[in-house]
Symmetry: C2
Subunit: 244 residues, 2 copies
């Protein structure tokens, strides 16, 4: 882990930009660091960490108030990282299908999402290895973010992740429904009910598939990016219940 820069935000939160091999990342730690803080992984959307910075940093500031550190790493093929050709081809095919007004074929969804999941999950696990070796961080770890298939896989395979906030709103390969049945940790799923670009039924079916004994779905209005502030508060309370 190579720290590129560090600065204090107005609230005293320490923000460090780093690279982990080829992977850019940001770590936010609370101002008061008398004891190691539990860590929340903030998964950025595919549009990239820079474009999503304001939203990620806002969530990190809130998490710091609650006593948690946060970390984001750039997704493979996103935000200036080397493109993944199979994903780019699938993205073109997806846009063509949508422009033609038709559904996006299952093979296209698989090619769009599964290579990203396959590449991203080991990177998150590598990031965990590194971040949890820092004296100011400790488990249990929470995961919070978009691309629900990545969160599903990580929740299913990574025992250090003890609770997850998942955002419904991206295409879901059929095989992910099977992975969902193997998830057992507490889940808090956010669904924007009036997200015109999202397949609401697929999101509900995925929620149904999760094997977790504690799982909660919060559906709200406000469109794809219009998650209400009170829904953010509820997600914070979920992490406080499970990680504090």
């Amino acid at each position: 882990m190579h720290v590129l820069s560090e600065r204090r935000l107005d609230t005293g939160v320490l923000e460090r930009e780093f690279t982990l091999g080829e992977i850019p990342g940001i770590l936010w730690t609370p101002a008061a660091t008398s004891s190691p803080a539990p860590l929340i992984l903030l998964s950025p959307p595919p549009l990239g960490m820079r474009m999503a910075y304001d939203r990620l940093a806002a969530r990190a500031r809130h998490a710091a108030v609650d006593g948690f550190a946060s970390a984001a790493i750039e997704l493979p093929g996103c935000g200036g990282r080397p493109l993944m050709p199979v994903v780019e081809q699938a993205r073109t095919a997806m846009r063509s299908a949508m422009a033609a007004g038709g559904p996006v074929p299952g093979e296209v969804v698989d090619s769009l999402v599964l290579p990203l999941v396959d590449a991203a999950v080991p990177e998150w696990q590598l990031a965990l290895d590194t971040l949890l070796s820092l004296p100011e961080l400790r488990g249990p770890v929470g995961f919070s973010g978009g691309v629900i298939s990545i969160g599903t896989r990580l929740a299913a395979v990574e025992p250090r992740v003890r609770a997850a906030v998942l955002f419904a709103g991206s295409f879901i390969p059929r095989s992910v429904f099977e992975e969902a049945r193997r998830v057992a940790i507490p889940l808090h799923v956010l669904l924007q009910w009036d997200d015109a670009g999202n397949d609401r039924q697929a999101s509900l079916d995925l929620f149904d598939a999760f094997g977790s004994e504690e799982k909660t779905l919060h559906a709200n209005m406000g469109g794809h990016t219009g998650v209400p502030a009170f829904a953010g508060d509820a997600a914070r309370q979920f992490f406080t219940r499970h990680l504090a």
Copy 2:
């Protein structure tokens, strides 16, 4: 309004049993009564106020901590009130249909629910007239309770009700979906995802039909009566946002 009895609960909440004409009811007011408290109507389930007393009183105690008064009145035909023959016939037909493993016909659902809604909503309005004339109570008023068709009608027609927590889990007549489109107040809908006796799709369709700009669905595990404590907390926060 005729007060039958009054007592202080351990938390200092004043509990008064009353009758309003033929209708039994309970009013809970916070211990500190320096200024009038906003009122939450706690609609009991059809099994009756006595059977549901512990749950109602627990919600009233929590509401009092948040500064709210609460009131419950017995539903028509329930809890020892004179039976409604058409509803009783429909209940028998419902049980027969369910015992035969088939769906409950729409006409049976209509006969089971609509007469109850038609009778209950004016009673809640009468109760509001009376309760809001007490010096220790004031609007805005919240509604919280089961039999989602009653809450839907009241939310659509009664302007004093400004926010509602609705419990999905009862049969829904088709006409209620049309009434739902006319609801404009903030809604917080609780759905027990694994409530085996509930038509989940109908609950989701009703949530979709509500016309409210702010509407939230909280789906949880735990079966019909197993609403988790954190879901109750979220409902309290909803009322605090809208009534305090």
